[in-house]
Symmetry: C2
Subunit: 148 residues, 2 copies
């Protein structure tokens, strides 16, 4: 069931949008709510279907727009795996993604700072990187703790 945003999350949304000169709209709120409600790295279609329950007139194009906006102002991250549909993830802490070969589920894997550091250290001089993407493919036997 989709809860409303907490006060804190609403502020977070508003602040991020305002900072890049954009407004909070009912559609953006709905999409953001969906993302926070079930942190299972949904595809655009999944977000669309979940959000439609709450806002029937919502269009797919708007979901694309909202998500792009959120990515642009740093509210969510895109997760790409091979050429599958892009997924979205509201976890902003540095983390890698683990994709279960069998279930297709995506799990967040925390990235300790020292690992980040050792990764950055392998770049030859002259290479300056802003974004590092790390993804594992394999099997997870874990009884689903949290699939963030």
């Amino acid at each position: 069931m989709i809860q409303n945003l907490t006060e804190h999350d609403r502020e977070h949304l508003q602040e991020a949008l305002n900072k890049s000169g954009q407004k909070v709209t009912p559609q953006r709120e709905a999409v953001f709510t969906v993302l926070l409600a079930e942190r299972d790295h949904p595809t655009v279609d999944e977000v669309f279907n979940r959000a439609r329950v709450v806002m029937p007139g919502l269009s797919l194009a708007t979901v694309y727009n909202c998500l792009e906006t959120f990515v642009g102002c740093g509210l969510v991250r895109q997760v790409n795996h091979e050429r599958e549909s892009t997924r979205y993830c509201p976890n902003l802490a540095p983390h890698a993604h683990f994709r279960d070969k069998e279930t297709g589920q995506v799990h967040d894997i925390e990235l300790p700072p020292e690992v980040m550091k050792s990764l950055r250290s392998i770049l030859p001089p002259g290479f300056d990187s802003e974004v590092i993407e790390i993804s594992f493919l394999g099997r997870a036997q874990a009884k689903d703790t949290h699939s963030n």
Copy 2:
């Protein structure tokens, strides 16, 4: 200019194909040759255009087929970046990819074993991974040493 395969490379191709019960064909040879000739992570289209010079009748579908076959028998790796066209890379040593934001060029970054190890160590128990993909996005000022 596209050279022929060296004896060594041809054997490598033949062995890998035979091992998975497939044959060396002129098309596969042409595609493999293109991949080895310019190790700049070409897209399927780029491979197609380069190979056509040497083999005019070659079809795009065949290039897709050949590349898929090669990936299947471990001859080349796929390189995906966001949702851009898939690129192909004949470098089999463990390495990460660095994508230049400006030029779009992809560079290989060597992955020392200890970094691989530290990466594997961040997986919680129960997570078992076969493939690790690491990609950087940023800017490289390096005067192109080698863009493998």
